[in-house]
Amino acid sequence: MNMPTFKRLIPVLLVGLAMGSCTEEKYTYGVNDVIVQPTDLSGKKSKTPEQYLNILYANLYQRAMSANQLVKATDVITSIGDKQVAYETVISKFMNDPDIILPSEESMRNDPESFVKETYQRFFVRVPTEAEKTWMINFINSNPDVTPEHVYYAFAIANEYYFY
């Protein structure tokens, strides 16, 4: 085919392509709402005492710690060599405060699955794996004396809570 013949065929080809595309069926794609957050456990950085205390306070009191309180509490943590002892003691002091906000035992017992999910979300900022969820629910159900406070305390002193 020589070049002049090819040029004469170009309009025909374009019209054909345009007509063909007009007949193509259109699709519309969408996405379902999904909570995007990590389920892996590979925390990389440890929290500073200030970060730990700030987040802990917010988790337990559902309000921010004042700057003055934060400085004082950080000093107290620094004044004790074994940080596990220091944090556990400060947390148990918080647990003795009537102002902390804990879920009721009734809500935990009535819907342990929601309680476990919310607790993981609150402390570890992630959803539990199926295995974690199952274990925690079973544990709560098989230990009638366990309270939400005990669960919160266990999460607050867990290693994962110390990392982000």
Partner: protein, 449 residues
């Protein structure tokens, strides 16, 4: 039965049927054959002490150009107190500030009870507090040691836990505060030692001060069986799920029983404070004295093998010579109280404890331009020869009494000696020497006598 009693009795019962225990070094049992005493208390005294006002007892004569001499450390040193220009004591109502010297506690000064090395040298590195303290606890001059950095070489705490089989609660570092990186001195960053062998630490003026009252006092005590068991089970599950090597809340390898014991101590100390039962020195009007008071509570409760306590108030000499004299006098009062407490209030440590006292460094010979309320000049410490001039004092079993070793013309002893001296007392000197990590000139002071 109280839980503490239960733990004690359980430990006794366990001890009766104990099995050979392999230390981290691979050796069976701790070395005990050559111990000179079972307990050591090391006082880091007390923020940079000038030789002229301590060992030489020159008072105002070699600092303010006033011909008044005398000894303001009469619990530690033999010598008469100054008779003129007395400003270092307490202030009775309506009288001149500092006019009333604090009464002596020890009838026999420590230099007569033990051995004094009056001319010890801080031979290397700059005469800064943290380097001085780090040298004192590691036996190594951290020439490149920075603030906010743990000691580069292992501390005596780590040596004792690793080679002597000491528990975490057998070794304590008591800080005068949390400034100047003091809390970093309870273990080194050395890869073969580190936090696994660290000392427990308190900065008790904070732990038990107003901040501790707000955030610790009255903490909830969970029932050990009904509450703590399920809590620990959940914690173990959560930690097992996390299970990343090295990713854990920093701790010092206290056992669960030791952690519970420390918490019991914290609670009991708040109670004793409330009931005015803490054994503070008769005069307690500065931070060093209250630190010593809390230290006695640690001795009473834990009976540690090694306690290192840091005092620092003397460092007010940067800006006030009068305050310096007061703090030096109170440092002596604190040491007298500490030794008296050990001998009278802790039967397990009486006659079985060697106390060592050493300034972390000295102070300059020439003053800075700052004058205080008495128009007296202040003194810094910036590595002049006088700031390298310190002393070391030892007292206790197997320490020769009434002995002075060395003189200005013949200095004996080095700031790095203390670690090997403590190791010698507690029977691990050869292990420490074998690491090759202490200063190559360091020796046990017992070997220098």
């Amino acid at each position: 039965m109280k839980r503490r009693d239960f733990i004690k009795k359980t430990a006794l019962a366990t001890g009766a049927i104990t099995v050979p225990y392999i230390l981290p070094t691979g050796r069976l049992f701790a070395q005990t054959g050559s111990q000179k005493a079972e307990h050591v208390v090391f006082v880091l005294f007390a923020g940079g002490v000038r030789h002229q006002e301590s060992i030489l007892q020159r008072y105002l004569a070699e600092s303010q150009d006033l011909d008044i001499e005398g000894n303001i450390m009469y619990n530690m040193l033999t010598g008469d107190a100054p008779e003129l220009k007395v400003v270092y004591g307490t202030t009775p109502a309506g009288q001149q500030p500092g006019i009333q010297p604090i009464s002596r506690i020890l009838q026999t000064p420590l230099d007569q009870q033990g051995t004094l090395f009056p001319e010890v040298r801080f031979s290397k590195a700059g005469t800064g507090h943290f380097v001085g303290l780090s040298t004192g606890v590691s036996g190594h001059y951290g020439v490149t040691q920075g603030l906010r950095q743990r000691p580069i070489n292992p501390t005596i705490f780590e040596y004792l836990r690793r080679f002597g089989g000491a528990k975490a609660t057998d070794v304590w570092f008591v800080g005068n505060g949390i400034g100047n990186s003091t809390p970093l001195l309870n273990h080194s960053e050395h890869p073969d030692f580190g936090y696994k062998y660290a000392a427990n630490f308190f900065a008790p003026n904070i732990t038990f001060g107003s901040k501790g009252v707000e955030f610790l006092k009255g903490f909830k005590v969970y029932h050990p069986d009904e509450e703590l068991v399920p809590i620990r089970e959940m914690q173990a599950f959560l930690n097992n799920s996390f299970n990343l090597a090295g990713k854990e809340i920093p701790h010092l390898y206290n056992t669960d029983e030791e952690k519970a014991d420390i918490k019991d101590f914290i609670r009991a100390t708040f109670e004793r404070l409330e009931n005015n039962q803490v054994s503070f020195p008769p005069v307690t009007d500065n931070g060093d004295l209250s630190t010593i008071g809390y230290t006695t509570e640690i001795l009473r409760w834990f009976k540690p093998k090694l306690t290192v306590v840091n005092m620092s108030s003397v460092d007010s000499c940067h800006g006030s010579y009068t305050s310096y004299l007061k703090s030096l006098h109170r440092g002596d009062h604190a040491v007298g109280h500490l030794w008296n407490f050990i001998q009278t209030q802790v039967p397990e440590m009486k006659d079985n404890t060697i106390m060592i006292i050493m300034p972390e460094h000295g102070r300059n010979y020439e003053p800075n331009p700052i004058t205080d309320e008495n128009d007296w000049f202040a003194f810094d410490h910036d590595s002049d020869p006088n700031s390298r001039r310190i002393f070391t004092q030892m007292v206790g079993p197997n320490v020769p009494a009434n002995l002075r070793v060395g003189s200005e013309a013949n200095p004996v002893g080095d700031a790095a000696d203390t670690v090997l001296t403590i190791a010698d007392i507690l029977g691990i000197k050869q292990d420490v020497l074998a690491t090759g990590l202490v200063d190559f000139n360091a020796m046990s002071l017992f070997d220098r006598i």
